[in-house]
Amino acid sequence: MKTDKLVKTTKERITDILFYVYRIIIILLLITLCIPAINPANVSELINDNMSLFTSGIDYASLTAGIIRAVTLGWVQESSFVIIFISCMVIIFSYAGIAVNACMSLGSLKMRRLGNIVALISSVTGLAGMGGIYQAYVQLCETSKPEKVGPHFPFGFIVIVGALLIILVFSLLLLMLQPKPDADDVYELKQKYKLFLLLSPFILLTFVFSYLQLWGWRYAFYDYNAGDTLSKDNFVGFKWFTYLFQNSATRSDIVRVIRNTMAMSGLGIATSWCAMAFAIFLCEIKSLRIRRFIQTCTTIPNFISWVMVYSFAFVLFSSEGLVSNLIVRNGGTAVNFLMNGDHIWLKMLLWGMWKGIGWSAIIYIAGISGIDQQLYEAATVDGAGRFQRMWHITVPGLLPTFLVLLLMQIAGILSNGLDQYLVFRNPNNASGIEVLDLYVYRLGIGSGVIPLSTVVGMCKSLISVALLLVANRASKMIRGNSIV
């Protein structure tokens, strides 16, 4: 790039600003691709309101899922929908071109110009696609049954056409404003942008799968049933938040669920020292072979799923399991211990320990091998016994690790996970086993009460983040470095 001057001319400054605006519009345009509310192809009641432009352009079957009756009765021509489908596909291609331009706009002058030309062509193609959709809309308006077909001019249509026109104009402007590249200019990107572009797909994935979810919190403010669309009509503000406390049935549910959650997390926290003790005593076994064997056996349960753990519980403790078999053989009757709801918190804790303790101990075992052996020798010389050495050397050595893990556990007090409680749940133990995660699952997915379960999940997420921040601050104060 030869044009690296210290002082920029007004023209260059305008070009820079234009480029920034241009890229932002392009990014916004690309995001609209997956938002059903701004789908320009949604020109009829027959098209599902939850379809985005992207789905409309790649999935003909879902696009036309609702039209079969209308086509067979002759209200509409299927060709209108074929036009919509093809138009959507064309628009998606034009978006791809525009996205390519957004990347190329980071490059050298020659590259930018090429990018602008690509954008010019793409936006014209996109507008042609929009024309196709409009054509289909006009066709649908001529239907004999407007009340059934319900043609409506989508709000997204205006937005997208507007955006495409802006891109068209900007591309033209930039083509005119930018100086002609020198003959020896090459197509190239600066290193820093090249690296960014390599990373950008992953940034996009992170955004789509981790940040876009937060947009789902809006369901907490609507009276929403599966399949509805969100609109002003069903906006209810904080109704569900107050409902949570005012409705006595829900309130007692929440109290019960919170109690279960706290009890199980509390038991987990109260027994978290067990893993450390496990490691310390395991290291007292001098034979490396035996130690290896024990470690191998006790770690493997960590790698099986909770469904598998339940399967084991079933094989051992159900009415057809080993324990029942032994009882029957001694003249008793078979008992299904899994159906018994007594002491369910304790049972869950024991299963959790069976599965996890060997694994949690590994980090402490590694910690023990990191403790200076001379400390032990010195203590022995001073006459310290086995337990004194454990208590005065090993435990203080492991304490920092223990504290970090404990803080993390406290921060995660509301998140017990779903799998364990879901698989062990049955009508007899339901009231004691239902933790917050399971409650949200059963309320939202099971009963389809989406707003209320979103509210509960939302509160849980916010409290968890707050707890994590507190734990982080506590760690900074105690140990001088943060955990996050």
């Binding site: 005593f281 024990i294 094989v315 051992l316």
Partner: protein
């Protein structure tokens, strides 16, 4: 002076000699108790695997009446062959294997690339993007927004719903980044001087050198994929052909449990066909369980080499 030191010596000897006997006695007791505890616990951890296994290979009639306790009797492997007749099981197996292979391969490849890219100081906005990705470990919007988001993206009842969300794995990115930072920078620099591009350096230098950490995350990723049950349960509600093996096993266990509950409620008054169904399902259930857990047991010896490294790397902050 001399007397004094001699006294001291005597005192020292006395101190060490008398308790020595006592510690030795208590040592023996301690050793026995300690060994016993750990051996019993170790056996408790592997016994379910063993018990399940001997039930799948023993004579089905003996299994039905509950005669198998510790030793397999009438060994045969027909149960495993008969699994081919169980509906939908092959499909579930296929889905589990496919998601494990594809999901893990994509996760490892992209994690390696991202881990490499975020070590490049010259990248535009490097630390912002790195934090943008890593911070997602610590929050989520909740189960329902997640589900609605996946549904909006069209990933419900879609095999890609297993694969795409797992491509960016923040925790693994931290592990790989930390590892790559420990590789001497001179190796890369000399390659750049020789005119290598970023991708060449990644393929020829970074990828081969970070194989140990990539193997670690691959194994953890594969186990996670194989074991994951929640996404199958929540995302694939309407398409049973996409259920994973874990999900299928859970369905079987639940069916059996419902029947058992009916049996309990009706005081054992179950129709003959229901009883037969319950008993027939027993060996099938056990065998399916065994098939579900076998892959884990096969890779476990390989994992052991890596997982201590993995957990230790995880303990230090990225």
């Amino acid at each position: 002076m001399e007397i004094n030191s001699a006294k001291k010596l005597k005192k020292l000897e006395g101190m060490s000699s008398t308790p020595k006997y006592r510690t030795r006695m208590s040592d023996i007791v301690f050793e026995i108790v300690n060994h016993t505890f750990f051996l019993v616990f170790a056996l408790a951890c592997i016994f379910p695997f063993y018990y399940l296994f001997i039930n799948t290979i023993s004579d089905n009639e003996l299994v039905r009446i509950g005669a198998i306790t510790l030793i397999p009797k009438g060994i045969h492997f027909r149960n495993y062959l008969s699994l081919t007749n169980v509906n939908d099981l092959g499909q579930a197996f296929k889905i589990s294997i496919l998601r494990t292979i594809i999901g893990t391969a994509l996760m490892v490849g992209s994690t390696a690339l991202v881990g490499f890219l975020v070590t490049k100081q010259e990248m535009w906005g490097r630390s912002i993007w790195y934090r943008f990705m890593v911070i997602t470990m610590y929050f989520n919007a909740g189960l329902i927004p997640w589900y609605l988001n996946m549904s909006m993206l069209g990933l419900t009842d879609n095999f890609l719903g297993y694969i795409i969300p797992g491509i960016v794995a923040p925790y693994n990115i931290i592990l790989v980044k930390t590892y790559i930072e420990s590789i001497p920078a001179e190796l890369e620099e000399s390659a750049y001087i020789d005119g290598a591009t970023y991708m060449t350096v990644f393929r020829k230098i970074i990828w081969p050198l970070s194989k140990p950490i990539l193997a670690t995350i691959a194994i953890f990723g594969a186990v996670g994929n194989w074991n994951s049950f929640q996404d199958s349960l929540i995302l694939m509600q309407n398409d049973a052909s996409l259920h994973t093996l874990q999900h299928r096993l859970w369905t079987y266990l639940n069916e059996a449990n419902n029947l058992a509950a009916m049996m309990q409620g009706a005081n054992g008054q179950l129709s003959a066909s229901q009883q037969a169904q319950l008993l027939d399902s027993k060996t099938i259930k056990y065998t399916v369980s065994m098939v579900t857990v076998l892959p884990i047991m096969f890779v476990y010896p390989f994992m052991q080499r890596y997982f201590e490294k993995g957990i230790m790397l995880g303990a230090v902050k990225g």
